[in-house]
């Protein structure tokens, strides 16, 4: 009934102002087993422009850095949750902060995943792969997406 296999590449979008982080992120996705198509934007304003562009392919998972110039990740998160056609995108917060308060606030605001940026490349690969496979389970196994909360 529901599809169990994933042949199409998974659409991923990363919003992060740090060029090094963007590079690591893309490389990490290159090396994991699941096929993905990774796009990146450099800040919150660019992100919102990208998502609301006419005819754009929406990502299945959006990785969102909290600290970005012009518009913060938190502002983007709240804005996305208010827009009907965007509010079902799975959102993974990608941040250097690990304060319990920050984490809980993002979940309450509708984030699905909270990732503390790892310093090690292999750890990053493992985390990204876990996020994508878990999201896939929510997409293909009829689970209730409202309950999708993962803190890594």
């Amino acid at each position: 009934m529901q599809s169990t296999t994933q042949n199409e590449p998974i659409q991923i979008l990363l919003a992060d102002d740090d060029p090094d982080d963007r590079l690591f992120f893309k490389d990490a996705f290159e090396e994991i087993k699941i096929k993905t198509n990774v796009q990146t934007v450099n800040d919150g304003v660019q992100l919102m422009e990208y998502l609301t562009k006419e005819g754009v392919t929406l990502p299945q998972v959006l990785f969102l850095d909290l600290n970005m110039p012009r518009k913060t990740g938190m502002d983007c998160l709240k804005e996305i949750k208010r827009i009907d056609k965007l509010k079902d995108i799975a959102i993974a917060i990608y941040s250097t902060s690990s304060s319990e308060e920050d984490i809980e606030e993002t979940f309450v605001s509708g984030a699905n995943v909270y990732i503390k940026k790892p310093s090690d490349f292999n750890a990053l690969k493992k985390i990204l792969s876990e996020v994508v496979t878990t999201n896939l389970q929510y997409q293909t196994s009829g689970l209730n997406r409202d309950n999708f909360i993962l803190n890594l």
Binding site: T5, R82, F107
Partner: protein
């Protein structure tokens, strides 16, 4: 006013399947979840129509043998986790092997190959989801939930929940309550 509802996905799917199959005048029976037995030869044209009709509901006709087996494994696990009574205490591996009709080694490898996750992880995921559902839609205590899902103790349940989600059951419940009580900020356009 806000209403919080509970629903049964399997009942919904069955109903939709029946409606779509009736539309095409087919002689069928829905044999279990994820399986329909059609008692006649179906033209490719009709099969295509059925596929299109079901697609609107996010239901797909699974074709390949491997996908079907994986779907059966998933269904068996879901069924096991959602049993109204306590989960079977017999060994899960032999339970699944019996139910699917292949050796556990075979289904274990097949499952990992197709889904990129292991059967063990999938069971934990389903149990955690069931726990989340019980936490948000019932008044059951953690002790009652732990018992219902066959954990040996609340501590065991809490640990597995924390390992699977990164947060404690208490934090999960707090977050969900805060989400519900949050007054949604209206879009600026709605004010004008």
């Amino acid at each position: 006013m806000k209403l919080y509802i509970k629903y049964n996905i399997n009942a919904i799917c069955k109903k939709i399947l029946e409606e779509q199959l009736d539309k095409l005048d087919l002689n069928y029976s829905v044999t279990g979840f994820g399986e329909v037995d059609i008692k006649e030869n179906v033209s490719n044209e009709k099969l295509k129509q059925l596929g299109v009709g079901l697609n609107d509901y996010g239901i797909e006709i699974v074709e390949s043998h491997k996908s079907i087996l994986v779907q059966k494994i998933k269904d068996a696990i879901t069924e096991m986790v959602y049993l109204e009574e306590k989960l079977p205490t017999s060994k899960i591996s032999s339970y699944l092997a019996d139910k699917i009709g292949h050796s556990y080694g075979y289904i274990y490898n097949l499952f990992s190959e197709v889904t990129h996750t292991s059967i063990g992880n999938y069971i934990i995921l389903q149990k955690t989801e069931r726990a989340k559902q019980l936490m948000t839609t019932t008044e059951l205590t953690f002790t009652e939930i732990a018992w219902k899902l066959n954990y040996s103790s609340v501590a065991h349940f809490s640990n597995q929940f924390k390992n699977a989600t990164g947060i404690t059951p208490t934090a999960f419940q707090r977050i969900m309550n805060k989400r519900r009580n949050k007054v949604p900020t209206p879009e600026p356009s709605e004010n004008s």
